[in-house]
Amino acid sequence: MAGDTLTTESYIKHHLTNMTYGKLPAGYVRTSADGEQHTLAEDTWTLAHNSEEMADMGFMAVHVDSMFWSITLGLIFSFIFAKVARGMHSGVPTGLQNFIEMIINFIDSTVKDTFHYKNALVAPMALTIFIWIFFMNLMDLIPVDWIPSFMMWATGDPHFYFKVVPTTDPNITLGMAITVFALMIFFTIQNKGFMGFVKELTLHPFHAPKWYVNIFLIPVNLILESVALIAKPISLGLRLFGNLYAGEMIFILIAAMFGAGLFLGALAGVLQMGWAIFHILVIALQAFVFMVLTIVYMAMAHDVDEEH
């Protein structure tokens, strides 16, 4: 930790800050840890040292820790499943294959319950979403200080930011939600045509049999449907982010209690255990909800004869 300068506030803030690599514009004045100031001569890609720099980097920045864990966990998922898939046989299954088959069966039945159309992409996507998000959420159960403290010790930098749970980063959850949304629009246009997509936006929910009435209804419909459409990726991404961010926040608050005397420390231990057990449910549930909503959106995109 950062020694005697550590306060509860800075501790929490530190835990909620991503390791950011981004572009600082030319002429930007950087303040280093010991108060020294220097001006950048040209655009510089660098690691941000504090949250102001992160804010100033704007859109041209990457959360290294989020991307690292997201990709690492995705690779772990891919590796395990690809390994089982390679050794897959139709004889009596054993060990890991059994477990993987159970998951595949579960995903498959969930997809078939909701999605009755022909699309080979939906089931693998559901599997990827479920396992990957579950893994990313699972990072939440690792005690909040372990990996950041280890990284601070390893780099020797007391201000080294390293956030472990990718799904507490809205970029990660919204990134997935927007991809799902893009696929949804793509499949909608593929199945219903561009005019079908436009009609869906303009002739719902109000529809009159006479065309001259419709002219007045179309703008109203467009506003209502656009809001409903845009709300889908936003709610999809923010639901996951909100749940995990709140969960992580509570873990951090409990962890902050450890330093506050023997009694509060013991209480924090109990609380942490209780919250962690409860959180096992939350992380699986949020992964499942994200998957189910994705399947539902895909089904909506394929639902050609929707009632008007």
Partner: protein, 156 residues
């Protein structure tokens, strides 16, 4: 909590993992599972069929057994009938044979009797003559009386 390039990075990563999962994971696992499902379904169907076959075979066996029993009964019946017939036939033959033997014996007896009569008849003449000679104690003209006695003997 800034929105930045991470968003796009995650989108691309997501698509890549979905593609990987579709290409190398899902299809392989699902097809093997489908294959096994088909195998199990086949196995169950085969077991079902075997059960039906067994039932059918048992029925057939029962039927054949019944038929064999019927056949055996009819064979025994026929054999019994035939045995009775043979016995009857044997009886008839025996009776006929007996009759024939009786007739033959009677004929022989008659023949024997006739022969005895003839013999008797042949000897009567000489006996009578000898007897008469003895009675008369005199010589008799043999040639004269012989014809007489023979006439007598023929009258016996």
């Amino acid at each position: 909590m800034n929105i930045n390039l991470t968003l796009i990075g995650q989108s691309i990563t997501f698509l890549l993992f979905v593609w990987f999962c579709k290409a190398f994971v899902w299809t392989a696992i699902r097809s093997a599972m489908d294959e096994r499902e088909a195998q199990i379904a086949d196995g169950l169907e085969a077991a079902d069929r075997a059960g039906r076959d067994l039932e059918l075979a048992q029925e057939k066996a029962t039927q054949q057994l019944r038929k064999a029993k019927e056949e055996a009964a009819s064979i025994i019946d026929a054999a019994n009938k035939r045995a009775t017939q043979i016995v009857e036939e044997a009886k008839d033959t025996a009776r006929e044979e007996g009759d024939r033997l009786k007739v033959a014996a009677q004929a022989e007896i008659e023949q024997e009797a006739n022969r005895a009569k003839e013999q008797l008849r042949g000897q009567v003449a000489s006996l009578v003559l000898a007897g008469a000679e003895k009675v008369l104690e005199s010589s008799i003209d043999e040639a004269q009386h012989k014809a007489l006695v023979e006439k007598l003997a023929a009258g016996l």
